[in-house]
């Protein structure tokens, strides 16, 4: 890897920690990756001058040029398929899908080609790429703009699937995903884009070894002793709010595990937590049937059976098409539904 920064000119350590948004952290993560490796390039509809419909790539085309921040024709399979060719040529494309519901035209390229090429070539070919998907609901959008379709990709061997929930993770996981030699489907919780957190952006290009967690590690966001909530992405905040509400009311003690990586799932962290608490709830916006929920629940019953005090409950979207936004409020799991599930497993 060649670096575009001057060697030896390491920035003086200054306190650069600042409050910033997930959106800005993602942008900074991509910028750092592009500075570190000239082979990293971005592709996606409207990501250049506009900076993407969510402005996640804002300013990058201005600084890196049109050959590294590419506005391709409006054709998702075309974008993914050409990204495969670019990866075969030694580039590391980072593709933006404009909204979750528009990844389907590219589904074939992702599951038939991207995921399998390393395997088909017996390890000789690598297609390191990141497919960024702003996902999930809660923004009052029209149809096809609010889906949680991560299960389709987690089901496909050869793909890594991750989702971020904090500014820190947005910044570091983006860089880790780009540096990975495997293709990564990178889910960005669009309704959390503008939530703030503390992030130390440092100066210059960061060393990936300094990332607080590995890309495939789950993190216990808050410790608890009565029930584990397994969650990720936009629902982490809901789970934390439930834990806090319960604590304030001297209710049950809730442990929140943020999976961060859906494939591979950090089952060690999951098992350790559930064995400790004896009760488990899965939480995500995705419909529950044959989902990440289903996988988590199955895994827990298979591996923690003797430690369980109650069945695993799934709190998720209903098994219907994502509804018109006037229903969102009741479709999306909220604090009350989490607490209701907590009560149910405790009273079992």
């Amino acid at each position: 890897m060649t670096s575009t920064t001057t060697p030896g000119a390491a920035p003086a350590p200054t306190s650069t920690a600042q409050r910033t948004t997930i959106a800005k952290a993602l942008n900074a993560g991509m910028r750092a990756a592009m500075e570190r490796d000239p082979k990293v390039l971005l592709m996606g509809e409207d990501i250049g001058k506009l900076g993407g419909v969510f402005r996640i790539t804002e300013g990058l085309q201005k600084d890196f040029g049109e050959d590294r921040v590419i506005d391709p024709p409006l054709a998702e399979s075309g974008i993914l398929g050409t990204a495969v060719g670019l990866a075969l040529r030694g580039y590391r494309p980072v593709v933006e899908i404009q909204f979750d519901g528009f990844v389907y035209p590219a589904f074939d390229q992702i599951v038939s080609q991207v995921s399998k090429m390393h395997n088909r070539s017996l390890g000789k070919l690598k297609v390191p790429m990141v497919v960024r998907i702003p996902y999930g609901g809660g923004i009052g959008a029209v149809e096809h703009h609010s889906e949680s379709n991560e299960s389709y990709f987690a089901h496909t061997a050869g793909l890594r699937v991750v989702s971020v929930s904090t500014t820190d993770d947005a910044y570091w996981m983006m860089q880790q995903a780009i540096a990975s030699d495997d293709p990564v489907i990178f889910y960005e919780p669009k309704r959390r884009y503008h939530e703030r957190g503390v992030l130390d952006l440092g100066g210059g290009v960061p060393d990936l070894a300094d990332a607080p967690h590995r890309l495939d590690e789950a993190v216990v966001r808050t410790e608890g002793s009565d029930v584990t909530v397994l969650t990720y992405g936009p629902m982490v905040k809901v789970a934390l709010a439930a834990a806090q509400a319960a604590e304030l009311e001297d209710g049950p003690s809730i442990e929140v595990v943020d999976l961060r990586s859906l494939s591979p799932m950090d089952t060690d962290t999951i098992e350790a937590s559930v064995i400790r608490t004896g009760r488990c709830i899965t939480l995500s916006e995705a419909p529950t049937f044959t989902s990440i929920h289903a996988e988590m629940a199955a895994w827990v019953q298979e591996h923690c059976f003797y430690h369980l005090e109650a069945p695993v409950l799934r709190v998720g979207g209903y098994n219907i098409p994502y509804p018109p936004s006037r229903h969102e409020e009741v479709f999306l799991p909220d604090l009350d539904r989490v607490l209701h599930a907590v009560d149910t497993v405790l009273n079992y």
Partner: protein
């Protein structure tokens, strides 16, 4: 249209009721029976069915200069390639019938299209094939036995695509056209084109069939290539059938004419004329390498055998059609031409036949002695980096298998 008119078929094998390029007349209620063997006046051809040089026309003249490069050795080399590739293909077919391969997609009839294209490519040019491009693989230097693994069920590829600049076969129709364009975009970013350095300037050739031209990926590839002016050549082998679907069920405008709508040149070439295929491919590749942008080549050819060994073409096509195409055989005509020119003689041909026998023996032996992969390998190349689930399952699998071995020993 009166009943009488509907009932009257056009005389077979004439151009009646067709457009100049051989496609059915537009707007006809029932497409009249047409001569699918005639490529029409737009088709670039240098050798006719009898192996005679045809006069250079306005259509073929832009390509004629590329024939000047073809000395006797090159011409002999082409005929040799055609014969060996056909033999390899026949052996693949036989091996499938004998249960050594699960499936074989034959290129019978398409040798000239592929050898012409393959020979026009330089070592640095990159080929993105479908699954029938054995002749291109041959020209790119892929050992033919390596192509058998995937049809035997030993692997999903089995050759090092970087070593020969010949990508793995692609089964999903159309996918590879985009890979080719993306790779060509990478070539552009690397500055490996339009430098004037023949060792460096690189083009990509992406292959598909006539059926593939309906796919979204194919059409998206053409859009991307045009917009990027990418150094890529699209090589459509119109072998007239997509499994059981003839051309007139696939398009109303022939593939080469569609290029115009995407904004770059399209050319129809006689795919059974190896020197025409070579000349047209050379021109398109050089245009791409020098920064001129993409070209679409439609090689007008014919699939003489079944789609694959699982297919039964007698269910959907008449043998008279095959008989007509047999007379246009790509090898016969090149052989006749080179014999008439005194470039090859019977001794040379006999020697190549012997070489073909030897190749067939080698292929057969390689196929029959190809080792089965160790089962653990299923888990080996799923991810480039460590993946917990796969590692865990690999370990469970190994332990489970070891249990059987212990039992066996008891």
């Amino acid at each position: 249209m009166s009943d009488e008119e509907v009932a009257r078929p056009a005389a077979p094998n004439t151009l009646e009721g067709t457009q100049p390029d051989g496609t059915p007349a537009r707007g006809a209620h029932e497409p009249p029976e047409k001569d699918i063997t005639d490529g029409g006046p737009d088709m670039v051809q240098f050798l006719d069915g009898e192996g005679r040089r045809v006069p250079v026309t306005e259509v073929s003249s832009p390509y004629a200069a590329y024939l000047d490069d073809l000395d006797d050795e090159a011409l002999k080399g082409m005929l040799r390639d055609l014969i060996l590739v056909r033999r390899f293909d026949a052996e693949g077919f036989a091996l499938q019938r004998q249960g050594e391969l699960g499936l074989w997609p034959s290129l019978l009839g398409q040798e000239a299209a592929q050898v012409g294209a393959g020979r026009a490519m330089r070592p640095q040019d990159y080929a993105f094939p479908g699954y029938r491009e054995h002749g291109v693989a041959w020209c790119k230097g892929v050992p033919p036995e390596n192509l058998l693994g995937m049809f035997r069920g030993v692997n999903h590829g089995g050759w090092d695509s970087g070593e020969h600049n010949f990508h793995l076969y692609t089964i999903v129709i159309g996918n590879q056209m985009l890979h080719g364009v993306g790779y060509a975009m990478g070539v552009q970013f690397d500055g490996d084109y339009a430098t004037g350095d023949p060792e460096r300037d690189t083009a990509v050739m992406a292959f598909t069939g006539d059926g593939g031209t309906a796919q979204g990926d194919y059409n998206e590839a053409l859009v991307f290539a045009a917009v990027k002016n990418a150094p890529v050549v699209f090589f459509v082998q119109n072998n007239h059938w997509a499994i059981s679907q003839p051309n007139d069920k696939q398009f109303t405008v022939p593939p080469y004419r569609r290029a115009d709508g995407f904004g770059f040149p399209g050319v129809r070439v006689d795919g059974n004329d190896v020197i025409a295929s070579y000349a047209v491919s050379r021109a398109a590749l050089e245009r791409a390498r020098s920064g001129g942008g993409p070209t679409l080549i439609e090689a007008f050819t014919y699939r003489m055998g079944a789609h694959t060994t699982s297919d039964d073409p007698t269910k959907y096509r008449i043998s008279a059609e095959v008989d007509i195409w047999k007379k246009k055989d790509p090898i016969d005509r090149m052989r006749k031409y080179l014999l008439a020119e005194g470039i090859v003689d019977d001794d040379w041909l006999a020697a190549v036949e012997e070489e073909a026998d030897e190749l067939a023996r080698r292929i057969r032996h390689a196929c029959q002695t190809m080792p089965d992969p160790p089962h653990e390998e299923m888990f080996t190349y799923v991810y480039a980096e460590q993946h917990r689930l796969v590692e865990r399952e690999a370990a469970e699998f190994a332990a489970y298998q070891a249990g059987f071995e212990d039992e066996g020993e008891r």
